[in-house]
């Protein structure tokens, strides 16, 4: 296929991002990589429809996302499998036990609906603007914003992250943090 050297290099460079996004949608590492592989094959085949100079990452993310939902509709992906796969990965990261435990966070994150997970990841981790995330998901900007905020609230509920005026140890922790900042 007519894939220029430059574009080929860019495609390869985007693999880590595609893997990270796919994992947030699927969880099971090998299945996430299957999805990335299918995305790359599609991208290669349809490279002519990509306009060089436009956002390649966004284009690839759109393909990956469409592929994910197409397969989900077909029922060929067990999305519920997300939890188990994350749990398996848990064992490989015993060093991460911070203030807000990453493993606890992971568990809570997997309980969110896919549409909230993708909105949170696109905006909160892969560096897309709300407008770009909206375009990738094919929805209005306001929809992305509301998915992000609903996702945050659900995570906060599940992880018992409270507002500073809540009575309890979190309030003390928050006031310590605030005091330290000022």
């Amino acid at each position: 296929m007519a894939v220029s050297e430059r574009l080929r290099a860019d495609l390869i460079a985007s693999i880590p991002n595609l893997r990270a996004f796919a994992t947030s949608l699927i969880g099971a590492p090998d299945r996430a990589d299957d999805l990335v592989q299918e995305t790359l094959v599609k991208a290669w085949r349809h490279i002519d429809s990509f306009q060089e100079g436009t956002n390649l990452k966004a284009w690839l993310f759109t393909i990956l996302r469409n592929e994910f939902y197409t397969q989900m509709r077909r029922g060929s992906r067990e999305v519920g499998d997300v939890n188990g796969a994350y749990a398996a990965r848990l064992a490989t990261h015993p060093e991460q036990h911070g203030h807000l435990d990453l493993d606890d966070f992971r568990k809570a994150f997997t309980k969110l609906p896919a549409e909230q997970r993708e909105a949170l990841i696109l905006v909160g981790a892969s560096g897309f603007a709300y407008e770009e995330a909206a375009e990738i998901c094919g929805v209005a900007v306001g929809t992305i914003k509301s998915r992000v905020s609903r996702g945050r609230v659900q995570l906060a509920d599940m992880l018992s992250i409270h507002e500073p005026d809540t009575i309890g140890p979190d309030a003390i922790a928050a006031s310590v943090l605030t005091a330290r900042r000022s």
Binding site: A20, Q37, W44, L100, S146, A156, I161
Partner: protein
């Protein structure tokens, strides 16, 4: 037609009901943001599995996986 609510009014309504439930303080939002980034970076910084090198070789081949529809 005039009675039909405009898009802006509709989204305003959505925003308002969201605001009630999304009144997370800055500290909480920051904590969640940090964790999201960690979750993502964990995979982002991992080495790329060998299967992708193999795939790229196949894609480069004329008549390989990357050609045709």
């Amino acid at each position: 037609l005039a009675q039909e609510p405009k898009q802006s009014q509709l989204s305003e309504k959505t925003d308002k009901s969201d605001r009630r439930r999304s009144s997370l303080d800055r500290e909480s939002r920051r904590a969640i943001g940090k964790q999201l980034q960690s979750l993502y970076d964990e995979v982002l910084q991992a080495p790329i599995p060998e299967r992708f090198e193999e795939l790229l070789k196949q894609l480069d081949e004329p008549g390989g996986k990357g050609s045709g529809a």
